[in-house]
């Protein structure tokens, strides 16, 4: 069919963030051993307990097997062929942004994340992470006035060690899974957020992750703690240059929400996806989990996943506190030979807990897009509810969409509802829009974003626009 081919052309868009920054970096040599870990820890001047945490994780990792259960196929990863620490060379201590290498600032400028005082985004505080290290965090002073801590995790280890010691690994234990164990052993940097009791964070916080070198893995670690009655909205964006090798990204994100606290965590993931033949691209294997510890606490994940050769990601909520709420809103777009296996786990432990799952998968080209989710009602989750909705849209007849919802209940006084459907862009809908003068490409992109609307509505304002733009960029053929 004519329109089908057109749709296929429309979804292939060159990657815009594929440039490499030419900067002198400090890299340790390839390979992973106890010595590598001691070296990373020493470079970061870490306290003893953290080194122990790392070594302990490493021991566990060595005993674990790489998972192969997800609906994913990829070449074996040689863990000795990866550089585990890579940082741009900079002056020892940087007191202000002006001392940051202009090349780095320029890189982030190009990515649409200006960091300098004059140009920085006005309503969002940004922590910019380049390969293994955080290079700058904006609005720190302003945030400090509210008692909000927003800094790189390396700084937090130095300045807020008691919080790190208390919470690191408390949500995702070091031995949780293969990639979480690897991250716990070698994590280099990431963001740390602490919102004190009763504070509504005055602006959105954001981390921007950039992988620059082709042979180093990125293993960032994010920890967000929201004390009683506090709230925060956190955004995360990711890009990487185009290399014909695969780069490993194995992050761990831990969220903790105490009584009446709310954390909203939004991701727009646009790592390099590899080319049309499936060469290159990021392996995105991340573990994201939030613990609703407190009563009436709320953790909400929203994600727009458009990049990476392989995505393996299940942002989850442990609903412990009475009446706590977990949410997961996801849009995943795959094209060419991309594979995505993503979804969530909602583990209802406390009574009257609630969760909502809305997942929209769009598969084009020869890609495979799977939703995999678990909803579990524990025996004490009296009066708990879950509602899940998983919709897939298929573009072209080579793409695959799978839905694997795992549903378990041990609590009669609870309700679980799951709905799923599959659709395509119908010729009649396209014709209707075209017959009103709307161009084909715009019509397709209107329908795709209409399909994703439930999820976009959940994103913070600035992000929603960005996500919409990102999708239509991916969907626009000739433009761009």
């Amino acid at each position: 069919m004519v329109s089908e081919n057109l749709v296929k052309n429309v979804v292939s868009e060159p990657y815009k963030y594929g440039f490499v920054t030419d900067i002198e970096t400090e890299k340790i040599s390839k390979g992973l051993s106890e010595d590598t870990i001691r070296l990373i820890s020493a470079k970061k001047e870490e306290p003893e307990y953290l080194l122990k945490f790392r070594l302990n994780a490493f021991k566990k990792w060595q005993k674990m097997k790489e998972p192969n259960w997800a609906d994913i196929g990829y070449k074996d990863i040689d863990y000795q062929d990866i550089i585990y620490y890579s940082a741009p060379k900079q002056k020892e201590k940087i007191s202000s942004l002006d001392e940051v290498d202009p090349k780095l600032l320029e890189t982030f400028d190009k990515l649409g994340i200006p960091l300098t005082e004059q140009k920085k985004l006005t309503n969002v505080a940004v922590d910019a992470v380049f390969d293994s290290v955080s290079i700058a965090t904006t609005f720190r002073k302003e945030l400090a006035e509210y008692g909000v801590i927003f800094c790189s995790i390396s700084e937090a280890v130095k300045d807020h060690s008691h919080l790190i010691e208390k919470y690191l690994g408390s949500v995702v234990p070091a031995n949780d899974n293969y990639f979480a164990a690897l991250n716990s052993a070698v994590f280099s940097d990431g963001s740390f957020v602490y919102i004190p009791k009763g504070v509504k964070c005055p602006m959105d916080l954001s981390s921007y992750f950039r992988i620059n070198s082709g042979d180093s893995g990125q293993f960032e670690r994010t920890l967000i703690i929201a004390e009683e009655s506090s709230s925060v909205s956190y955004l995360e964006g990711c890009t990487a240059p185009m290399f014909d090798t695969n780069t490993l990204h194995a992050a761990v994100v831990e969220l903790i929400a105490l009584d009446d606290a709310a954390i909203k965590y939004s991701t727009v993931q646009n790592w390099y996806a590899g080319d049309e033949e499936g060469i290159g691209g990021i392996f995105n294997f991340v573990t994201k989990r939030g613990k609703c510890l407190g009563k009436r606490s709320k953790i909400s994940w929203s994600q727009v996943e458009t990049g990476s050769a392989i995505t393996w990601k299940y942002p989850s909520c442990l609903l412990l506190g009475e009446e706590s709420v977990g949410e997961f809103y996801s849009v995943a777009l795959t094209n060419n030979l991309q594979q995505a296996d993503t979804g969530t786990k909602m583990i209802h432990i406390g009574p009257k807990t609630k969760s909502t799952i809305v997942s929209k998968g769009i598969s084009a080209g020869n890609s495979v897009n799977s939703y995999r989710g678990l909803v579990k009602m524990g025996s004490k989750a009296v009066g708990s509810r879950n509602y899940s909705q998983c919709d897939s849209m298929l573009i072209g007849d080579q793409a695959a969409a799978n839905t694997f919802p795992y549903i378990q209940s041990q609590q009669p006084n609870s309700e679980i509802e799951h709905e799923a459907s599959t659709c395509r862009i119908s010729e009649d809908q396209l014709f209707y829009l075209q017959s009103r003068g709307i161009e084909f490409e715009e019509a397709v992109s209107m329908m795709v974003s209409g399909f994703c609307r439930d999820v976009f509505n959940q994103l913070p304002m600035e992000f929603a626009a960005e996500a919409d733009k990102l999708l239509s960029l991916k969907l626009e053929g000739s433009v761009g």
Partner: protein, 405 residues
């Protein structure tokens, strides 16, 4: 796991048939399914081993039927007991398959078997003697309803096989009743082949007694323009697994599946269904209901597989589960695997308890809680039981069994 020991030591049967030899060879090295695989991970390990704990060598006793054959209008067959069947009516015929046809058919199937996916059938063919395989060829229309019994005997492990070929344009009601005696295990494997334009209305009722176990595997292949509709009921088993595989070989066929499973006490009943479309324009509609009470465990896993060739498939699947006790457990996993783009597929699952508002409404009109609950439960099942093609007068017994508690 006595039966596994017997397989390993090769002392199962004195004089194995060709098929038994092939299957024994396949199972000897690896006699059990991979318990970590998706198909088996939820099976209760100790119940599964108790299923395998009976010997195959015990004598089979004659089957005690739950009701007499009152109606002359029903063709009644008992697997293992009827030796000659040849019925010719004005417009129809029911013939027994030749031994060679049976052997060829099973051999053809075995060659495509996967150790894990088809373990239940492999086990069945290992153990099933020639006498316990019933093969039929049915053609014509205005065929009287057919009723086929299969049962296990106390203190033993029995395997029974049923193969039915439905010829072109044939139209028939077929009911299968699987009975479990005290302390016994039954492995029932069934193959139904529907030629084009045939229409089969199939009912499966399986119920056991104290400590009976069942492994019920049902394989359906459908040619174009055929219609297959199934109503199934499984209850009163310590351990039961109902595996249903349907393949629309050319698409363009219609499949309707309605099933109920009821678990009480410490029972575990699991239903696994796999619907595969190998051609375009197929239709599929499934609803599976389970009810779990006491400390029981109900499992449902259903897959719908729509490859590229199966454009314009229209499939829907619904899993409804009632959890009646706080010690009971329900696991459900309806899944879709789709490559074709011009398809309509949807699935849904719910787990809930009886509707409080409805109960209250009925109680406010003077019904007791238990009466109201029974009414609600019976309406919950009605939709499914109504499709089981069993004559009304035969339902009395099942009605009694269902409302027992």
């Amino acid at each position: 796991m006595q039966i596994i020991e017997e397989i390993k030591k090769n002392e199962l049967v004195g004089n194995p048939t060709e098929i038994q030899k092939i299957c024994l060879n396949k199972l000897k090295l690896n006699p059990l399914p991979n318990v970590k695989s998706e198909l088996w991970r939820l099976s209760n390990k100790s119940k599964f081993s108790s299923f395998l704990d009976y010997s195959h060598k015990n004598k089979e006793s004659k089957i005690k039927l739950p009701y007499e054959n009152e109606s002359q209008n029903v063709v009644r067959l008992i697997i293992g007991e009827n030796s000659i069947i040849n019925l010719e009516g004005e417009n129809y015929s029911i013939r027994k398959l030749e031994d060679s046809q049976i052997i060829d058919y099973i051999k053809k199937n075995i060659s495509n078997f996967d150790q894990n996916d088809n373990w239940s059938d492999l086990l069945n063919h290992c153990l099933c003697s020639k006498k316990n395989i019933l093969g039929l060829n049915i053609s014509g229309n205005k065929i009287p309803p057919i009723e086929i019994f299969s049962a296990s005997s106390s203190e033993s492990f029995n395997a029974k096989t049923l193969i039915v070929f439905f010829e072109k344009n044939c139209k028939v009601d077929l009911s299968q009743i699987n009975l479990g005696n005290q302390n016994s295990s039954l492995s029932q494997s069934t193959y139904l082949c529907l030629e084009s334009n045939s229409s089969v209305n199939h009912g499966v009722v399986s119920y056991g007694e104290n400590k009976s176990n069942l492994l019920n595997s049902l394989n359906i292949v459908q040619k174009a323009k055929s219609e297959y509709s199934l109503g199934s009921l499984h209850f009163k088993y310590n351990f039961a697994r109902f595996e249903l595989r349907i393949n629309q070989l050319e698409g363009d066929a219609k499949t309707i599946i309605k099933g109920v499973q009821i678990t009480k006490n410490n029972d575990q009943i699991a239903t696994y269904t796999k619907m595969r479309f190998n051609g375009p324009n197929g239709k599929f509609d499934q609803i599976n209901k389970s009810l779990a009470d006491d400390k029981s465990h109900a499992v449902f896993e259903g897959a719908i597989i729509v490859p590229k060739i199966a454009q314009k498939t229209d499939a829907s699947q619904l899993s409804r589960n009632l959890l009646l006790s706080k010690n009971a457990k329900v696991d459900t996993k309806p899944q879709l695997e789709i490559v074709a783009d011009d398809v309509k597929c949807k699935h849904g699952a719910t787990i809930s308890q009886l509707n409080d508002e409805e109960l209250f409404y009925m109680r406010s009109r003077g019904l007791t809680l238990s009466e109201a609950s029974k009414l609600q439960l019976s309406s919950y099942f009605q939709e499914i039981i109504a499709c089981i093609p069993i004559p009304k007068n035969r339902w009395d017994l099942l009605d009694k069994l269902l409302t027992e508690n």
